[in-house]
């Protein structure tokens, strides 16, 4: 499976200052979002991972869109990510 990740609102700083990422998991069809964000935290962030993940979910204050729609519509962190999904993480905490 392949997922597209988009980091905005200041979050991109945590991810090598890049907005767009594509991750491919060759032997997976689906993956729980929880697992994906923990994996991202453990492998993709160099410093201050707590700014992204807190208590094994996305840190409060970070808006998540799944295929351009509010993740709350899809069960939030319990969502199962599928091939071709686009996940957008937008920090609401930065700047005014």
């Amino acid at each position: 499976m392949k997922v597209k990740i988009e980091m905005t609102g200041g979050l991109e700083i945590l991810f090598k200052n890049q907005k767009n990422h594509t991750y491919e998991f060759k032997d997976r069809d689906t993956m729980p979002l929880r697992e994906l964000v923990v994996w991202m935290r453990d492998t993709q962030i160099q410093e201050r991972p707590e700014l992204f993940v807190e208590d094994s979910t996305v840190r409060p204050g970070i808006l998540v869109l799944i295929n351009d729609a509010d993740w709350e519509l899809d069960g939030g962190i319990e969502y199962i990510v599928e091939d071709g999904d686009t996940l957008s993480f937008i920090s609401t905490l930065h700047g005014g």
């Binding site: 499976m1 905005t8 609102g9 200041g10 990422h21 594509t22 991750y23 491919e24 998991f25 060759k26 032997d27 997976r28 069809d29 993956m31 994996w39 453990d42 492998t43 993709q44 840190r59 409060p60 204050g61 808006l63 869109l65 295929n67 351009d68 729609a69 509010d70 709350e72 519509l73 899809d74 599928e82 091939d83 071709g84 999904d85 957008s88 937008i90 920090s91 609401t92 905490l93 930065h94 700047g95 005014g96």
Partner: protein
């Protein structure tokens, strides 16, 4: 980016994926926008829990702000309104919304963008570029006013002089005046700022935690400042940060997201994290806190400082000279670092908080601890103070 070795062995590999494109649509087949019942919902409203589509979201988002403006009588036809523009998400959406609503509902307002350049390299210079692009897009006049022109100091220079302690206090005091002066230069008679519901809820919590009753009273007002100072209003008072960000995202608005390099305010950070935790449990909490604060009643004996004009610059203040002039005097004589820790700030806190058992979270015994926690939303504060003071003095 094929860094998937830690997942490799865990799941049994199955055959090739068949229906990759259709899956996302089939998942949500049952759900439709709760308003139009036609489109696919893209957002769950934190205020109401409604699931709504993009078009309905735009509609309701804009209508609510329009209602806030109308029911609070924020503007009169012919007003010249300066939009405090930092380049951040709130003020960018504010500029968009103000132009849209002004046209749609024929408010008859002259709009201006007003940016304050504090002189912070790598932060404000970048965000000002965003504001300049906004100017192009909305075709509204832009005024940039710098600390350097007004005070002959940039924030970089000030920080070099006084260090990183209390620099936000300096900056806040200067910015408050700068916005007023900039608006006057533009010939504006009103200022709007992008403070949203989350900001206000956060400030309510902060003021409770600091025991700052005068600011607690003021921070909830939608319009602040009058009699000598320009009225300043917050059309986003009831608007959730989440929806502002969503709006900016869906409309692909161009905004700037870097945190000020001098602003690590740990105390406000605590309050912000706390608020976000609460919001995760109950999304309506932001509005609930505002509802609470609007219903606070204060004991009568709380006095407000008496309003007067600064002897040096004429700006409205509660002492012989205003805080900005006081800071400047110290800066220019090279005593700022010392003075900040002793007199000025103490006076400043006292003037905001007239009861002498000053309710900061700081033990009274250590004078260097007198600090102004979280002045990074100062725009809304002093003006209110003046408004309050003028009304209470006439009563007493």
């Amino acid at each position: 980016m094929d860094n998937n070795n830690n997942n490799g062995g865990t799941t049994p590999t199955t055959t090739t994926t068949t229906t990759t494109t259709s899956t996302t649509t089939t998942k949500r087949v049952a759900k439709l926008c709760e308003l139009c019942k036609v489109q696919r919902p893209v957002l769950k409203r934190p205020k109401t829990g409604q699931m709504i589509c993009k078009e309905c979201f735009y509609q309701i988002f804009e209508d609510e702000i329009h209602n806030t403006i109308i029911s609070n009588n924020l503007f009169q036809r012919g007003d010249r309104v300066a939009i405090g523009a930092s380049g951040g998400k709130d003020s960018t959406v504010l500029a968009e919304i103000m132009t849209t609503l002004n046209k749609r509902h024929d408010y008859g307002l002259d709009l201006f963008l007003l940016s304050i350049d504090e002189g912070i390299t790598g932060y404000r210079d970048d965000s000002l570029e965003t504001v300049k692009r906004n100017q192009q897009q909305y075709q509204i006049p832009l005024k940039i006013l710098s600390y350097k022109e007004l005070y002959n100091w940039t924030m970089d220079e000030i920080v070099a002089e006084i260090g990183l302690k209390n620099n936000c206090t300096f900056c806040g005091v200067f910015r408050r005046q700068a916005l007023d002066r900039g608006a006057v230069l533009l010939g504006a008679n009103k200022i709007v700022t992008g403070h949203n519901a989350d900001d206000i809820a956060e400030t309510v919590l902060m003021n409770l935690l600091r025991g700052d009753i005068p600011r607690l009273q003021r921070c909830i007002n939608i319009v602040t400042g009058s009699e000598g100072a320009l009225p300043r209003s917050k059309p986003f008072k009831y608007t959730y940060q989440k929806e502002i960000v969503m709006y900016a995202y869906f409309k692909k608005l161009d905004y700037f997201t870097t945190e000020c390099i001098y602003a690590p305010n740990a105390y406000r950070g605590h309050a912000r994290d706390f608020l976000k935790d609460l919001e995760a449990v109950r999304p309506s909490i932001i509005i609930d806190i505002i509802q609470s604060a609007e219903n606070f009643h204060f004991r009568d004996e709380i006095k407000m400082p008496v309003q007067r004009n600064c002897n040096l610059c004429g700006y409205i203040c509660s002492n012989e000279i205003c805080m900005a002039c006081d800071f400047l005097k110290n800066l220019n004589s090279g005593k700022a670092k010392y003075a900040l820790n002793s007199n000025s700030l103490k006076n400043y806190n006292k003037s905001s908080n007239n009861n002498n058992d000053n309710g900061t979270t700081i033990p009274d015994t250590t004078p260097t601890n007198i600090s102004a926690i979280g002045f990074d939303h100062p725009l809304q504060q002093q003006q209110q103070q003046q408004q309050q003071s003028s009304s209470t003095t006439s009563n007493s």
